[in-house]
Amino acid sequence: MKRTIIIDPVTRLEGHGKIEIILNEDGDVNNVYLQIPELRGFEKFCEGRPVEELPGIVTKICGVCSGCHHMASGKAVDAVFGVEPTPTAKKIRELFHMAHFVHSHIAHFYALGAPDFVVGPMAPAGERNILGVIKKVGVEIGTEVLKQRRLAQEIQDLIGGHQTHVIMNIPGGVRKGLKEEERKDIEEKAKGFVEFARFTLKIFEDVVLGNKGYVDIILNGPYKLNLYSMGLVDENNKVNFYDGKVRVVDQEGKEHCKYAPPDYLNYVEERVEPWTYLKFPYLKKVGWKGFVDGKDSGVYHANPLGRLNASDGMATPLAQVEYEKFYSVLGGKPVHHTLAMHWARLVELLYSAERCLELAQDSDITGKELRTKLNGIVGEGVGIVEAQRGTLTHHYWTDKKGMVTRVNLIVGTTNNHAAIHMSVKKAAQALIKKGENASEGILNMVEMAFRAYDPCFSCATHSLPGHMPLIVNFRDAKGNLLRSLKRDG
């Protein structure tokens, strides 16, 4: 007698989606579909708007990383006007961006990632959440987590004018400067971040690296994909979140390409599947070979792990140390273990904190030159920044009055759509055997493959976050649905 398993919703995802795992008659995984059931159509309805309004509109693509969209948009708009922001404006923007990373990475690790490790993948569902983590690590730490996240947001609020949907960017610069006392305040907070980032890495080492079982899962679990890695780098090929060129390295870590934002169309292409609203980007020069990894498949990933792989190191001292440790422990560059993402994210957390401090101590930051004078409208512009969940590309076209005629967006999680799809399939194939053992813990381990990406489908689908039914359907060879199984049923 065959059974049907239904698991819903896959929670603790800042995104909206649905994964169908289809088993064959024997109950082994036949295929997996990651379906994104949402679309809002920003690419269309931004048309006809004055381009300077876009930074205020596209933040609404995603309330989780709206700051990144604001930055990418701000840069694209600058390009449309053919200007660079003033040095002060540029630094203020990056400072905001760093605070944004600090808050988001803290949130992901403790609220979304850590539960799997700190509480444990096999722990009862009711405890596998931030509250469970707090119970485990102690309320004072839990309070500290929330506090640090708050401080990071206060900085965003202070600079961005909003803690969520920022309004700071104006063509050629920013609307508001920083006062000395504000700078001091940020500096103090940034010092705290550095300490907290190191403390968090310590927890990771103790709880995760200190636990053979977990390390084994990371290294030998079914969480390995041989993909191209993408990330934004500075002139020294060091990781940079705000500015630089996009670099892609292959499975061996050799540079596949390195391009300036305006050239992205020569390197990235997207595929449409009829069963999901979200597109699948891939490397144009390699081409789409389906949902497979390896050198011949254009599938790449752009995320903390991808960024570390794509770079030659971190631009700040403490983070550089962690960067080196990361690769030595995980057996050299590049790393293809999906779950290593959590560690990579913490390395980035430390970098963001350090960079935040650097900028807060930069004398330019309180400068008075906030806006570059505009002269004329170029009519097209591309802006690229790193979002927490991947490389973020905004491309605008306007008429000569600066009214938007076309918009193209390739956002963080979209880059990883195919990769997530494959990771989940791989995990499912390895973990679900004969369908009989589809226990809650096992299925949570399937989700872990997914969760590692911190996928934000509100971005990816330019749509809402939402519940994520993970359906495990038993079908016969002809594909007729036999039965499904509820994880918690």
């Binding site: 506090k147 969520t164 390739i410 809402l464």
Partner: protein, 328 residues
């Protein structure tokens, strides 16, 4: 209050960005106070509760559901209806649920136009067979389904009965806390259909910029066309600001950031269509008498709908562009 049973709260999202959920999480340490008063019985972003658990709940089992996001597809609508059934109080949380919000700007275009742009005529998309997503799709392993994408964006109260509206994009966390505490501590609630977590008076009442009665405008400027002096009323500088027809409660956050208000907090009581009200007001400010001079000034209002209905198009009297558009 100890002996009083804890409040059963649910939070859900329609077509939204997640910012509303973030605004709820932004209570930071106060999260503990909230959890002392309420059990979250459904909150996908945070908790491992299951969708079908909600279906199994008795009707009105949930005390309060905070629904954010607009209604963009069949799934949003179904969830809205389910949660309405299961909840005593349904709150439209945030601009999208309240007025359609930014996603509502899609009401300028038909489903076809949107698909065409995203999947068919897109610079980075290679789609020789013209594939577009299908609600039901045959794959070798069987049928796959995704929700039906509606032709227009709807507000929450256009699909279900709504008890309260908590405006903002996203709502200011303090306002959420105030409202939440009021409900949790059993305070007297305003009449059904009220806007909560916002004041009746408009932005200007809280705005610290210098204001006079000289609202005569000879030219409207786009924000980048002038250097905002940071001190005087945007309108008096000729920069369009939705402040006068937008409720206060956000702490004039955009204006404090030197950006004009775009109206996410929605209209004051009794104003049916904030965009129209503001257009009416803005037009009277135009300082010209001859048609041609007036037209010239109006030229600088480059995107009336996108400006005056930035957050409220689906709730407007003309809630979408005429699909039977007339050629002229």
């Amino acid at each position: 209050m100890e002996n009083k049973p804890k409040l059963k709260v649910a939070a859900y999202w329609g077509a939204a960005c997640g910012g509303c959920s973030v605004s709820m999480l932004d209570v930071h340490e106060k999260l503990f106070d909230i959890l002392a008063l309420a059990d979250f019985v459904f909150w996908p972003i945070i908790l491992d509760t299951k969708y079908h658990d909600v279906e199994e709940m008795p009707d009105e089992h949930i005390d309060v559901t905070l629904f954010n996001g607009a209604v963009r597809n069949s799934e949003n609508e179904e969830m809205a209806k389910l949660l309405r059934k299961k909840s005593k109080i349904l709150v439209a949380y945030g601009s999208c649920a309240h007025m359609g919000g930014i996603p509502g700007l899609a009401n300028f275009f038909s489903k076809e136009e949107i698909f065409k742009r995203v999947y068919l005529e897109n610079e980075s998309t290679f789609n020789p067979d013209g594939t577009v997503p299908q609600p039901v799709c045959e794959v070798p392993e069987g049928k796959l389904e995704i929700p039906v994408f509606y032709n227009d964006v709807l507000t929450l109260n256009q699909v279900v009965d709504v008890d309260y509206y908590l405006p903002g994009c996203p709502p200011q966390t303090e306002r959420f806390l105030e409202v939440f505490m009021a409900i949790a501590t059993g305070a007297e609630l305003p009449p059904k259909g009220s806007v909560v977590g916002a004041r009746d008076k408009s932005q200007c009442d809280e705005c610290e910029r210098k204001r006079t009665d000289n609202k005569l405008v000879k030219k409207f400027y786009r924000p980048w066309e002038i250097y905002d002096d940071g001190e005087s009323c945007f309108l008096e500088q000729g920069v369009i600001c939705m402040g006068p027809s937008t409720r206060s409660g956000c702490g004039v956050r955009c204006i404090k950031g030197n950006a004009p208000c775009r109206g996410c907090y929605g209209p004051p009581p009794d104003v049916i269509d904030p965009g129209a009200k503001m257009m009416s007001a803005i037009a009277t400010m135009i300082d010209a008498k001859e048609s041609d001079d007036i037209k010239k000034i109006i030229e600088d209002i480059v995107d009336p709908t996108g400006t005056f209905y930035r957050f409220s198009l689906p709730a407007a009297i003309l809630r979408k562009k005429s699909i039977y558009e007339e050629k002229y």
